[in-house]
Subunit: 475 residues, 2 copies
Amino acid sequence: MELLVPLDPQSRMPLYEQIYRFIREEIRRGNLRAGERLPSSRILSENLKVSRSTVQMAYDQMLAEGYMETVPYKGCFVADTQSLTGFGEARNSIGEGSASSGEKDAGEPAFDGKVDFSPRGIDLENFPFGIWRKVNRDILVDDNRELFGPGDPKGEMDLREAIRSYLHSARGVSCSADQIIVGAGSQYLLMLLSRVLGDNHKIAMENPTYKQAYRVLKGQGYPVCPVDMDKFGMQPDLLEECGADIAYIMPSHQYPTGIVMPVKRRQELLGWALKKEGRYLIEDDYDSEFRYKGMPVPALQGMDKAGRVIYMGTFSKSIAPAIRIGFLVLPDTLLKVYEEKASFYASTVSRIDQKALYQFLEKGYYERHLNRMRAIYKGKHDALLGALKSLEDRFWIQGEYAGLHILLTPKKGMEEEKLVSLAAKEGVKVYGLSSCFIHNEHNQYPPTLVLGYATLTKEEIEEGISLLNKAWKDV
Amino acid sequence: MELLVPLDPQSRMPLYEQIYRFIREEIRRGNLRAGERLPSSRILSENLKVSRSTVQMAYDQMLAEGYMETVPYKGCFVADTQSLTGFGEARNSIGEGSASSGEKDAGEPAFDGKVDFSPRGIDLENFPFGIWRKVNRDILVDDNRELFGPGDPKGEMDLREAIRSYLHSARGVSCSADQIIVGAGSQYLLMLLSRVLGDNHKIAMENPTYKQAYRVLKGQGYPVCPVDMDKFGMQPDLLEECGADIAYIMPSHQYPTGIVMPVKRRQELLGWALKKEGRYLIEDDYDSEFRYKGMPVPALQGMDKAGRVIYMGTFSKSIAPAIRIGFLVLPDTLLKVYEEKASFYASTVSRIDQKALYQFLEKGYYERHLNRMRAIYKGKHDALLGALKSLEDRFWIQGEYAGLHILLTPKKGMEEEKLVSLAAKEGVKVYGLSSCFIHNEHNQYPPTLVLGYATLTKEEIEEGISLLNKAWKDV
C-alpha cells in the first residue's frame, strides 16, 4: 500500500512527528485497519523523499505506543487496538528511568570507588544557575511583599495554570488548573492523596516498582498487593484477581523495568477502573521528559474520560531534586473530597519557590532547559550503549532509549550479588534490580543490574564500562 | 470625576486587572486622594467601553484590599490608606492563615469590613525584605551547585545545628542537632511524626485547641480525646482517666486560651508520661517568641530528662508563613524508630530555602528581627490593651502579655454569635472561641471572643476597639 503523508517542511513540528501523527490519526479514524500492512521504512522514505531514519523514528514511536507491530521477515502491520492479544515488538521500546525524586536512602554509605552507576540523582553540572538566580532575584522585590503571607493550599494559581498548560501540550493531560495540587515532592503528595482517598483501600502496585512510593503507601496503612507484569506492564487479570480497588502504575516508563505501556494495555487498565465504582488508577509520570528515540508517549490521563486517573508529576528529575516541587491532578470526584476533607492542609511549598518555578515555566526557560538536558542525556546514553558493545557477548541490554538508566542481564544467569561484588573489586558500583521487588515470591525476573548514568560524564561512563568488562571477563 | 485608564486589549493581563492596577497606582502616587469620589461602575464602564462586570471586578478587588470604600446611596470613595498603613498588601493575609502556620481555611469568605481582628497571620509590613533577598542572592552562586542535589532527609546539618543552638539559648531545649528534623510546616511534621509513632495510639488534646493539629491527627486515624483545662492548663487527672498514651499540649502559650502552664503542672504532666512505658508529650511551642512581660518561659522539653517530650517549633510566626519551615525534636527512643521506619521520606523543604534560613539565623539577622518584631508587637499589644480600657466595664480581658491575640469574655454572658454579629454591623470582624472546641460537651467556657492584632496597625486597633465599643454598648 502507499501512504500519502502530507508533509510540511516549514512546520516547527519535526517531519517524523508529522508522519507519526498522520498515521496514528488514520488508524484512529479507521482508515487504516488492524492487520493492514504498512509500507517498509525504506519504501515510505523513498515515497516521501525523507531520510529513512525519519520514517524509522515515526515507526518506533508507533511501536512504542502499540499502534503498530512488526512480524519478523514479514513487515509492519497496524495493530489491533480494540482486541489485540500481543504486541510483538513493543519490547523494543522498553526504556529505563531512575528513582523518581532522587532521594538518598538513609544509611547508604558514601561511595569511595571510581565510578558509581547510581540510578538516582541527575546531571547538575548543567543546571541553569544564572537563570535560576535571575528569576529568584526578580521575585524578591518589595512589590512582592504579599508573597510572604499564607498562600493557596493547592498552590499559586499562576503556577498551576502554567503546569496545566505544560501538561496539556507536552503530556496530553486534560485538566483545569483547579484540579492541580502542588506539593513538596511525590512522597508528601502520596500522603496527602491518601488523606483524600481515606482508609479501607487495597492498593495494587507493579512488581518490581518504585520502592519509595511502596513505603509511603504501606506507611499510610494500606494493604499493598504486588502485581506481576508481562512485557506490556501490569497484567489486568492479575490485577482483577488481587482484589485491589486502586492501582499505582507508571505507564509512560515503568521504574525500574522501563516498560512503556502500549495503548491496548492502557485501555484494559482503564476498563478495570471503570468496572466498579470507586476504582482509581494512580499514574506516576515521574521521568517522562527524557526519551531519546521518538516522541514522549502521552499520559494515560489523557485517555481517561471517566475521571478514574489520578495523575502525579514532579520537577525533581527535570529541574533538580532540591526544588521539591511535584503535583497531583485529581479527577473531579476526588477534587470534591479534597475540598471537603483535606484542603485545610497548607501548601508545603514556599510561595517564593512557586513563583520562581512559575517564571521558569512561563518565560520558556523550562522548555529550553529540557531540550538541552535531552541532548546531554542522549550523549551520555549513546556513550553508554557504545561502550556496552564490549559486553554484548555476555549480557542482554534492555531499557535503552528513555529515562536515565538501562538494564543489564547476564546471559548465563550469574547472581546479582556476585556481579555487584566483582564490579566493586574494580571500584565500580552497580545496583541489583532485586531491591525494587516488593514481593520476592513474585520474582519472575532473571538476575539483572540497573545502571544509571545521569550523574556521570561520558569519560566516566567509558571508564566504568571498561572496568566492568574486566571485572566480568568470566561471566 | 473622569478616570482615563489606558487599556491594552492585546495584553495578556485581563482588563479588570489593568483597571485595578491603574487605579491602585494612582492612589499610591497620590494622584487620587483619600475621600475622593470614584466614578460609578456604570459610568466608568461606559467611558472605557468595557462591560460593567469588568469594572465591578476591579472595584471588588480594591474594596477587598482596602483601597476603596463604598458608602450606601453615596458612591465609591478612595480609602484613607495613609492612616491605615499595612491595610493594602498585608490585608491579603488577613483571615487566611491559621493559628500556627497561617493556613487558609477553605471556604472562608473574603473580609470586606473595616477592621479584622484575625488571630491568624502575622505582621508582614516589617519583614526584612532586603536581608532576605541578600541571603538568597549569596546562596545562589555557582559554588553552591551541590545544593541542587538531593539533601539530608532530616534537613541540612548546618541549619539543624543553628536551630539547636537557638533552641538551647532561647528556649532551654536540650538536644543534639541529630534529634532535629526539619520539614515543611507543622501539619506535615505531624503527619511525619505519626508515621514514626505508628498506629494504635490514643491522643489527648487540650479543649479548646489548635484545630488544624486536631484535624491532622484525626486524619491520621488516631482517636483524639479532648481534655479540659483549668487555669494552669490540661488537667492531669482527666488526662489519666481518658486513657490516652500521647498528649498534645502548648505549655508556653496555649492556643487559644493563652494559658501559660506553670512549672508544677508541667511536672505533673511529665509525671504522667513517666508512669507508663511508651507515653509521650507533644509540646507545640508555636509562638513562644513573643512575650511582652517578664522573661520567656522555657520549654517543657528542657525539664524532661527521660526522653518523653517531642518538641515542635515553626518559623511561620516569627519569620513568615510563606517560609514553610518548621521542625521536630525527637527524643532518642523515637529517633531510632525514625531512622528505621521513616527516614526514607525525603525532606520537604528546598535545600536553598534551608540554606537561606541558616544564613538568617547564623548571621544574627533572626535575633535582630525577633527583637524588632517583639517591640512592634508590644506596641500593638499595648495599644490594644489601652483601647480595651473602654470595654473593661463589660468584659474580662485574658491571655495578655504573650502571643499575638487576647481573649474577651462578656461579664453578662452574651452569646458569641450575637457579639460577632453586632461587631460585624459596625464593620469589625471578631472570632468566637467556640470554633476551637473539639468536643462541645466539654465546653465549660463562657462565651468568649478571640482578638488577634498582628496584622493590624495601632490606628486600626484603636479604630476597631472604638467601633466595638459602639457595637457592644448594651452588652
